[in-house]
């Protein structure tokens, strides 16, 4: 049953990155669009994510519940040592969710719309940035459970060049996913052309920041290249991610919306696979060489079994309903 729980944990992180990521991306894309087209893009994005955005963020809750029920030591260690970026991410989540809804549902449309938009777009950018930093901190060997002073215990644990680069990379990926998703929801040729233009910028950004990640890893003395290219799975995953990036470019050019969505999603799944596979089953690596493993640092067996059943049972309720939601609202609207 432990493996059921681990699969669900990985799947919910993956789905959060894909769906929640596309959702954050909506704000990032709006921010990255020239002022001239910004309100148009804002409207397209809001329409695309409106019905599904809240459901997209539930994957984070599922992941966090799995962690604190099934792997309490991992959850509490992260809570203690990565406290600061976690708080930054939470503030981003609060600001973003509320600003999006306020913008949509304010009965009067006046200059407050600008305030909501500004908060929404900037927090859409900041939140995945910190998510990336948090993810990077788990594998950077910077969490030091023996640290005596504040800076090395609570700041050095996450503030590295590698972390910053992963933060930027996550942000770029989110924007990229959002354009790929939005492509399928627009009908007019003008909107499509606009989306394609923005999509190309994000593909460019993903490539550039991707290179930056490797440079930063080398600078922070993280053996990223060994991790990714050291095993077959990593090599295959990265090769297919690169290939699908090129194919996504073609799909955008030919205005194949569904293909662009699938390829972009596939690419991000492959990147996550390459990033997590090498360390499995370790989830958090410590400075002193130790770490926290999904196999060894689990709650007791009875808890894991009931958690697995709760997840399986929950999926029966959630998944059909969620697929139907995405089918109804993921299409082009007339």
């Amino acid at each position: 049953m432990l493996y059921v729980v681990i699969i669900y944990l990985w799947a919910s992180i993956c789905l959060y990155l894909l769906l929640g990521g596309a959702d954050f991306g909506a704000g990032i894309v709006e921010l990255a669009t020239p002022r001239k087209h910004r309100s148009r893009i804002g409207a397209i994005m809001a329409k695309a994510i409106g019905p599904i955005w809240e459901a997209n963020h539930m994957w984070l809750i599922i992941a966090i519940v799995i962690l604190f029920v099934g792997f309490p030591e991992i959850y509490t260690t992260m809570s203690i040592y990565v406290h600061i970026p976690l708080v930054a991410m939470l503030l981003g989540i609060i600001a973003r969710g509320t600003a999006f809804v306020f913008r949509n549902y304010d009965a009067v449309e006046d200059r407050w719309q600008d305030v909501y938009s500004r908060v929404f777009t900037w927090s859409s950018m900041v939140t995945p940035f910190f998510l990336g930093i948090i993810a990077a901190s788990t594998v950077s060997r910077t969490i030091d459970v023996q640290a005596a002073d504040f800076v090395s215990a609570y700041i050095g644990s996450w503030l590295t060049w590698f972390g910053l680069a992963i933060g930027l990379f996550t942000t770029a990926i989110c924007g990229y996913l959002a354009v790929a998703y939005a492509m399928g929801t627009v009908a007019s040729e003008r909107d499509k052309t606009l989306i394609i233009r923005i999509a190309k910028r994000f593909i460019f950004a993903v490539v550039c920041v991707g290179v930056l990640v490797f440079i930063a890893a080398a600078y922070s003395e993280i053996p990223l290249i060994d991790w990714i290219f050291g095993g077959t799975i990593g090599q295959v995953a990265i090769a297919s991610a690169t290939l699908s990036l090129a194919l996504t470019f073609v799909a955008f050019n030919r205005k194949k919306a569904i293909a662009a969505r699938i390829l972009a999603g596939f690419q991000v799944v492959m990147i996550l696979l390459a990033a997590t596979y090498q360390h499995y089953p370790e989830l958090v690596l410590f400075k002193d060489g130790g770490g926290l493993s999904l196999i060894e640092h689990t709650g007791n067996a009875k808890t894991i079994t009931s958690l697995a059943w709760a997840l399986l049972l929950g999926s029966l309720f959630i998944l059909p309903f969620l697929f139907y939601l995405m089918r109804v609202f993921g299409k082009r609207s007339s």
């Binding site: 599904i52 539930m58 809750i61 599922i62 966090i64 519940v65 959850y75 809570s79 808890t303």
Partner: protein, 443 residues
């Protein structure tokens, strides 16, 4: 302010903020579903407008509740890691089920809000009802987790190790049902009176009277039914607390001496050092009767409980008194409304009844907050009653006080914006939602 107090304050504030939005998310969908049902049955467009108007309010409040709830799932670890390390695997079951319920709620809300003209009418109605049902399930499950902290079950502590863990037994602990019942009714009372009060105010201002009267009737009726049931649930809960957490009950009543024929203390200023209550009204025997159903049974006083296990007496006592007073007031108002509905129809159109409801607008929520203080502060100094002290659970990270200031600023500004938005919704009722209004011009 030291870091421990800052952590407790931040947690209290986060929960105190979240609880309001959680209550709305549990209850408003049912009001919406009732109005929607009447619209589908009668085709009356005033009910359609009302359903839409309410759903906008729900969208705003649900999103605020969802983000503050997300934050809480992190704050548990950020502020109380030692607690979560041990408690997570034990009381995690209701949280994992709550994840499902919350997820279903978010999906159903997406369907409901964007489903007009896109879904079949009765399927659309059903999605609205599912929002309510899953919201209710979420609330009950979270309260079950909280009840476990009051009434720990499903594990043993041997040599400091938590062993023999049984998550199912932990979920169905002794307190879960009564706490969930009391909280659910409270959500209906608080949200019902808040909604009814706002619509009553609009009726008194002679704005869109038909629209607001329809809205008032649905919300007031739900509120009143719940308000009449709540004292019964409160009474059973008090008897239960007297059994399981005598220190909490003693603090609620500022009851220092263990005695038979124990008096019910109304008001007064508790002095913890002198162990007396000054200027209080005492009704002999009533506390014994309320706690044990028998005036001759003794009620344990604080003097028989080691002082290091006392909760802060004055806060718990004041909060309890506020909750009781408001609960009684709302139950009386509910009684008046029921009398008016059945025997005194003339009262319904009169200004004084609406004025009473306007006064009642915030009272249910004040009672909810007071009740939450009773149960949370009343559990102190324990985070897991009798097992782990709150002070031993707090994060080792220094500087939590700054985090507290930051979160305070966020919550204060969010509250202000939400109030501002709801005010604007109310101002626009004529234009956006009321078909009978001459200015009606929906977007």
């Amino acid at each position: 302010m030291d870091d421990f107090i800052a952590a407790r304050s931040q947690m209290a504030m986060s929960l105190g903020f979240h609880i309001i939005f959680a209550c709305v998310g549990m209850v408003m969908p049912f009001f919406m579903a009732i109005s929607h049902f009447i619209y589908l049955k009668t085709g009356s467009s005033i009910y359609k407008g009302l359903t839409k108007a309410w759903s906008k309010g729900v969208a705003i409040l649900f999103a605020t509740g969802a983000v503050s709830g997300t934050m809480l799932s992190f704050e548990l670890g950020l502020l109380w890691p030692t607690f979560m390390e041990h408690a997570g695997p034990i009381f995690g079951m209701p949280f994992s089920l709550e994840g499902t319920a919350f997820f279903v709620e978010a999906i159903a809300l997406g369907f409901f809000l964007y489903g007009w003209n896109r879904l079949k009418p009765w399927f659309h109605w059903l999605t609205g009802l599912i929002v309510g049902l899953s919201g209710l399930a979420s609330g009950i499950l979270v309260v079950a987790a909280n009840a476990w902290m009051n009434s720990p079950a499903g594990f043993d502590v041997i040599d400091g190790q938590y062993v023999n863990i049984d998550p199912i037994q932990a979920m169905f602990n002794d307190a879960w049902f009564l706490q969930a019942l009391h909280m659910t009714l409270a959500a209906f009372v608080a949200t019902g009176f808040a909604v009814a009060g706002i619509h009553a105010l609009m009726i008194l201002k002679r704005k869109n009277v038909v629209f607001h009267t329809v809205a008032f009737r649905i919300s007031a009726l739900c509120a009143c039914i719940a308000a009449l049931l709540q004292p019964i649930s409160g009474d059973i809960s008090a008897k239960d607390v007297a059994q399981r957490q005598p220190a909490k009950l003693a603090a609620m009543e500022a009851h220092f001496e263990t005695e038979a024929n124990a008096p019910f203390i109304i008001g007064g200023i508790p002095d913890e050092d002198a162990e007396v209550v000054r200027y209080a009204i005492r009704i002999p025997g009533v506390l014994s009767f309320l706690a044990h159903g028998d005036v001759d049974k003794p009620v344990t006083g604080l003097k028989d409980i080691p002082k290091e296990n006392w909760p802060p007496v004055a806060i718990v006592h004041y909060a309890f008194q506020i909750m009781i007073a408001l609960g009684v007031f709302l139950a009386l108002l509910a009684l008046i409304y029921v009398v008016a509905l059945i025997w005194r129809k003339a009262w319904l159109g009169s200004g004084w009844l609406y004025r009473l409801f306007v006064i009642a607008t915030p009272l249910g929520y004040i009672a909810v907050e007071a009740g939450w203080i009773v149960t949370e502060v009343g559990r102190q100094p324990w985070i897991i009653h009798g097992v782990m002290r709150t002070v031993d659970a707090v994060t080792p990270m220094p500087g939590i006080v700054y985090s507290f200031y930051l979160f305070t600023a966020v919550f204060v500004s969010l509250s202000a914006i939400v109030v501002f938005l709801l005010y604007r919704q109310m101002q626009m009722v004529g234009k956006l939602y009321d078909v009978t209004d001459p200015d009606y011009q929906p977007k």
